[in-house]
C-alpha cells in the first residue's frame, strides 16, 4: 500500500524525546538534537502538531481521538483530511520543508471567505429549498477569512493525493496525480475569469452537464433521498404502536481496529435535555425562521453519532429525530447536530475585527450560507449555543452524499459496466475547482465586498504562473502526506494510541 521504502530512518522518527534533564547533560543533548535527521525532525513536528491540534479532545474524549488517529493511518487521504491544521502550518512556515512563497498574495486576498478545508471529499449533494439536487461545498466547520490561494493549494494537494492513490491502487496513468491537481486549478481559474466577464456562476445541478462522477453522485442521492433511506437507517418503527423512534446500535459495525464506522449510541438524560433546549433555539436561526411551525421541531429521539468524519471524528455529534411536517411517522426529520470547532487559524495574521461572530456555530452557518450558490441550499441549516457548547445543525437525509476517493478507485478498477475513466475524474476535479472559485469570488470578504475583485487583482493576467506555482506546491507537498501517514503509524506503535499524551484528568 505504501510503495515508498520507509526503512529505519522513519522507524527512528518515532523517537522524538530529544532533551534530558540535568545541566551536566545539556551540551550532550544539544548535539544529540542537532544530529537528528530530517525524517526524525519531521516525525517530531507531526507528533507535536497532532497533540496540539487535538489537545482539548485528548482531554475530553481520549478514546475517540485514539480512533481518529487509527482512522487516519488507514489511508493517506484520510490522513490529509485529519490534518488541516498541519497543512496550514506547513504551508506558512518559512522554515518548513514545503515552504513556497506565493507571487499572488495581497492584503485584500488574505481576507476572502475560505472553507478552511478544501479537499475533494468535502464536495457533495444538497436538496435545496426548491427541490433541486445540486452539488456544492459542504464542510464549513473551520471556515474563516483567509488567503484564497492557500485554499486552492489545498484542493490541488487533495486531488494530487487522490491521484496517486488512483495510480497505485487502480492502475491509473503515472501522471494522474498532476493532471488531477492541474484540472482543479484550471477549473478554479476558469470560473474566476467567467465571473470576471459577467457570466453566470457555475451551478452543478441535477439535469445539467455535470460529468460522469457528479452525475453518479446526484443519481444515488436522488434514489436514496426519495425513499427516505435515512429513516430506515437511523430510526425504527415500533411494531406495537407504529411510532417512530431513533435507532440505537451499529448501522455499520466498527472495524477490526475498533474504529467506529457508523454507530448510534444512547445519550444520557442530561444530554437529551441539552439537545431539546438547543433544538428549541435552533429553529429561530433557520434561513426562513417562519417557514416551519414550532410543533415540527418536537424531539422524538436523540442518539450520539459515532464514526463520522475524520477531523471531526471525536467531537460531539447527535442525530435528532423530529416530528416533521405532520404527525405521521413517515415524514419525520432527522437533524444532524454537530459541535462547532474553532476556525482555521493563520498564525500571526491579524484580522481586524478579530471576532465577527457570536460563536463558532453561528460562524459556520453564516459562512455556509454566504458561500453557497443558494443561501437555502439546506433550509434546515441553523445553529444553537449554550454555555461553552455550540452546535450547527442541518437536515440529515440521503440527498446528501459526498465525493468518495475510495469509490473513484473502485470505479476505475472496474472492467464492466459503470467503469469510470481518468477523464471522468478529471472532469470532477475541474468542477470542484469551479465551485471553490465561485464561493471565493461571490461570498463577502471580511471587508464586505465579494472576493472576486481581490482575486482578479492578485492574479493579474498571469493564470499560467498561478497554475505553475500551485502545482509546484502540490507536487512538493503530496509526498509528505504519504510519508506522514507512515510516520503516524510508527508513532502510534511507539507511543501508544494517544501518542504518549498524558491527560490532566483520568479518562472517563
Amino acid at each position: 500500500m505504501f510503495p515508498r521504502a520507509l526503512p529505519r530512518r522513519i522507524r527512528r522518527a518515532g523517537r522524538c524525546a530529544l532533551s534530558v534533564s540535568g545541566a551536566a547533560l545539556a551540551l550532550l543533548a544539544l548535539f544529540a538534537c542537532a544530529g537528528a535527521g530530517d525524517e526524525a525532525s519531521r516525525a517530531c513536528v507531526l507528533h507535536h502538531n497532532l497533540i496540539e491540534d487535538n489537545h482539548i479532545l485528548l482531554e475530553r474524549e481520549p478514546a475517540l481521538v485514539a480512533g481518529k488517529l487509527r482512522k487516519m493511518v488507514s489511508s493517506p487521504f484520510l490522513f490529509l483530511r485529519g490534518t488541516a491544521r498541519l497543512f496550514v502550518e506547513d504551508a506558512l512556515d518559512p522554515a518548513g520543508p514545503v515552504f513556497l512563497p506565493t507571487a499572488y498574495g495581497s492584503f485584500a486576498g488574505s481576507r476572502v471567505l475560505t472553507t478552511g478545508d478544501a479537499h475533494p471529499e468535502n464536495f457533495g449533494t444538497y436538496l435545496s429549498g426548491d427541490g433541486t439536487l445540486l452539488v456544492d461545498f459542504n464542510d464549513f466547520d473551520t471556515a474563516a477569512f483567509g488567503p484564497w490561494w492557500l485554499e486552492v493549494r489545498r484542493l490541488a494537494v487533495g486531488w494530487s493525493v487522490a491521484g496517486r492513490m488512483l495510480e497505485e491502487r487502480a492502475g491509473a496513468q503515472e501522471a494522474t496525480r498532476i493532471r488531477l491537481a492541474r484540472s482543479a486549478v484550471r477549473g478554479y481559474l476558469h470560473e474566476i475569469r467567467a465571473l470576471e466577464r459577467g457570466e453566470e456562476p457555475v451551478a452543478v445541478e441535477e439535469g445539467g452537464e455535470v460529468g460522469v462522477v457528479f452525475a453518479d453522485l446526484i443519481r444515488r442521492s436522488r434514489r436514496d433521498g426519495d425513499i427516505l433511506e435515512e429513516l430506515d437507517d437511523f430510526t425504527r418503527l415500533d411494531p406495537d404502536t407504529g411510532a417512530r423512534r431513533i435507532f440505537i446500535g451499529d448501522i455499520r459495525p466498527p472495524g477490526e481496529d475498533g474504529v467506529y464506522d457508523s454507530t448510534l449510541a444512547p445519550v444520557s438524560e442530561a444530554e437529551r435535555r441539552m439537545v431539546e433546549r438547543m433544538i428549541a433555539r435552533y429553529r429561530h436561526t433557520l434561513h426562513d425562521a417562519h417557514a416551519f411551525p414550532a410543533e415540527m421541531f418536537r424531539v422524538k429521539g436523540v442518539a450520539r453519532r459515532l464514526g463520522a468524519g475524520v477531523g471531526s471524528y471525536p467531537i460531539l455529534r447527535y442525530y435528532v429525530l423530529l416530528e416533521g411536517p405532520t404527525d405521521s411517522p413517515d415524514d419525520d426529520w432527522v437533524i444532524d447536530m454537530k459541535e462547532a470547532v474553532p476556525a482555521t487559524r493563520y498564525p500571526g495574521h491579524s484580522l481586524y475585527p478579530r471576532r465577527s461572530f457570536e460563536n463558532a456555530a453561528q460562524r459556520v452557518v453564516w459562512m455556509t450560507r454566504a458561500f453557497h450558490v443558494h443561501p437555502d441550499n439546506d433550509p434546515l441549516l441553523g445553529w444553537a449555543h449554550e454555555g461553552n457548547l455550540g452546535f450547527h445543525m442541518q437536515s440529515r437525509t440521503k440527498y446528501q452524499k459526498n465525493l468518495d476517493v475510495e469509490r473513484m478507485i473502485d470505479r476505475l478498477r472496474r472492467t464492466g459496466g459503470g467503469r469510470w475513466t481518468t477523464g471522468d475524474i478529471l472532469e470532477a476535479a475541474f468542477l470542484t475547482g469551479r465551485i471553490l472559485a465561485r464561493g471565493h469570488a461571490l461570498a463577502p470578504t471580511l471587508d464586505g465586498p465579494p472576493g472576486l475583485g481581490a482575486i482578479v487583482a492578485a492574479l493579474g493576467d498571469d493564470d499560467e504562473g498561478f497554475e505553475r506555482e500551485t502545482l509546484r506546491f502540490a507536487v512538493r507537498y503530496a509526498p509528505f502526506v504519504f510519508d506522514d501517514t507512515e510516520h503516524l503509524r510508527v508513532l502510534l506503535e511507539e507511543h501508544g494510541p494517544l501518542l504518549g499524551f498524558r491527560p490532566s484528568a483520568p479518562p472517563r
Binding site: A23, I51, D93, T102, P147, G390, G500
Partner: protein, 390 residues
C-alpha cells in the same frame, strides 16, 4: 548585600521589587486590609532588616491603554496589557511564599468560547515558596513551585519600560515567564555576582508536564555598581543564561542561549538582549535568533522623557529573508518620583509610535508581507506599587 527575608522579597516581587506604594492607591484601597498605613511617595515601607516579625507584602501592576492601528486595515482598541496582583508572606525572616495572579483573556484565538464570551479572568502566574540562608560570604535561596523564569526575572529587574512592551525574550516566546519546578540562587560580593539554577517541567504555566525531560536553566549575573553621581548610582548588569529544554509530548528540543547587558541610572536606562533558540514554535529543527535594544531617559526630571525600543527576530537561521522587525519610539511622563530607574513606572504615561515590518518569507502569510505591516499609535499607562506591613 543582605539576602535575608526583606531582600528575598524584593527579588521575589520583581519587577515591582523596589517600587514604593502610592502609585496604585485606588487599587490598593480595595485590597489592603483596613488599618494598614499607606506610604507616601518616596517613603519606603520596607521593614527594617533586623526586624524578625512576619512581613506581608501586597503589590499590584496595571498596564493598559489605547492602540490606534493603521496599515492595510485600520483598527482601534483599548487594551489591558497586564493586571497583576501579588501577595507575599514571610512568617520568618528566612522563608516565605508568594502568590501572583494575572488577568488573561479567557479565550485564545483558537478557542470556541471563553468564560462568558472572552472575559478577562484571573489565573495563577507564580506560586512558590522560598527559603534563604547565608554561609560565609555567600547568600543563597531555594525556591519551589510555579517559579519565575530566571532570565526574564533577572533582565526585567533592570528594565525600566515593561509597561511599554515586554522583553523580546518574553514576547517572542523564547521564554515563558514562569514554570513549575525548583531553583537555587547563590549570590556573592554583596549581590554583584549571582548564579541561578532552575529545573522545571518546561511546559510553562498553562500545561502539565508532557514528557519525561526537564528544562534546566543556568543563569550567571554580574551586577557591579560602576559610578556614583550626584543624581544617584549607575549600575551595570550582565546576564548570561543557557537552557536545555524540551516541550510537548513529542519532547521537542527547546534550548536557549540568552544574554543581556543593561545600564541603569536615575536619569538614563539602556540595554540590549539577545536570544538564540534551537527548537522554536513547536518545530524542533528550527533555529531562531532574536535581539532587542532599549534606551530611555528623563529629559525633564519627573515630567518627561524619551524612550525607544527596537527588535529583530530571525524566524529561521537556515534561510534568508526571514526577518521580522518591530520599532517603538515616543515620550513618557512620570507622575510620581522614582529615585531609582528600577523603581520607575510607578505611574507613567506613554505616547509612542510602534511599527511592525516583515520580509516576504517571514510574514504570517508568506508572499503577502503587507498584510502584516502595521503602524500603531499607542497611548499607554503603567502603574506599579507595593505595600509591606508587619
Amino acid at each position: 548585600m543582605d539576602l535575608q527575608a526583606p531582600v528575598t522579597l524584593r527579588r521575589a516581587l520583581s519587577p515591582a521589587a523596589h517600587a514604593a506604594a502610592v502609585s496604585a492607591l485606588a487599587l490598593f484601597a480595595a485590597l489592603v486590609p483596613s488599618g494598614l498605613s499607606v506610604a507616601s511617595a518616596g517613603d519606603r515601607t520596607e521593614p527594617a532588616p533586623d526586624d524578625d516579625s512576619p512581613v506581608l507584602v501586597v503589590a499590584a501592576e496595571l498596564f493598559g491603554g489605547l492602540h490606534l492601528i493603521t496599515g492595510p486595515s485600520s483598527f482601534s482598541e483599548f487594551e489591558l496589557g497586564r493586571a497583576e496582583l501579588t501577595t507575599a508572606l514571610s512568617p520568618v525572616p528566612w522563608a516565605g511564599f508568594e502568590l501572583t495572579a494575572e488577568a488573561i483573556r479567557s479565550a485564545t484565538s483558537e478557542s470556541v468560547l471563553g468564560v462568558d464570551g472572552d472575559s478577562l479572568v484571573f489565573r495563577v502566574k507564580r506560586a512558590w515558596a522560598h527559603a534563604s540562608a547565608e554561609i560565609g560570604p555567600l547568600a543563597g535561596e531555594a525556591r519551589v513551585g510555579l517559579i519565575p523564569d530566571p532570565f526574564v526575572e533577572a533582565v526585567e529587574s533592570d528594565y525600566a519600560f515593561r509597561g511599554l512592551a515586554p522583553l523580546l525574550a518574553e514576547r517572542g516566546s523564547f521564554f515563558d515567564t514562569s514554570d513549575l519546578g525548583a531553583a537555587g540562587l547563590v549570590h556573592a560580593l554583596d549581590g554583584q555576582v549571582g548564579l541561578h539554577l532552575a529545573i522545571t517541567n518546561g511546559e510553562g504555566r498553562n500545561r502539565v508536564e508532557q514528557n519525561s525531560g526537564k528544562n534546566t536553566t543556568a543563569l550567571l549575573s554580574l551586577a557591579p555598581r560602576v559610578l556614583e553621581t550626584r543624581s544617584g548610582d549607575a549600575h551595570l548588569a550582565l546576564h548570561v543564561a543557557y537552557r536545555d529544554g524540551s516541550v510537548g509530548t513529542a519532547g521537542l528540543r527547546n534550548h536557549r542561549l540568552a544574554g543581556a547587558l543593561a545600564f541603569s541610572h536615575p536619569r538614563v536606562s539602556t540595554g540590549v538582549e539577545a536570544v538564540r533558540a534551537w527548537g522554536y514554535a513547536g518545530r524542533a529543527a528550527r533555529e531562531t535568533f532574536g535581539a532587542g535594544l532599549w534606551a530611555g531617559g528623563t529629559v525633564v526630571p519627573r515630567w518627561g522623557g524619551v524612550v525607544g525600543r527596537a527588535e529583530i527576530l530571525d524566524m529561521d537561521l537556515d534561510r534568508d529573508e526571514t526577518w521580522r522587525f518591530r520599532g517603538t519610539a515616543g515620550l513618557f511622563a512620570d507622575l510620581l518620583d522614582a529615585p531609582d530607574p528600577r523603581e520607575a513606572e510607578r505611574l507613567r504615561l506613554y505616547a509612542v509610535v510602534q511599527f511592525d515590518r516583515a520580509t516576504e518569507r517571514a510574514a504570517p502569510l508568506p508572499g503577502a508581507a503587507e498584510a502584516h505591516d502595521e503602524t500603531r499609535l499607542m497611548l499607554l499607562f503603567s502603574a506599579r506599587g507595593r505595600h509591606a506591613v508587619r
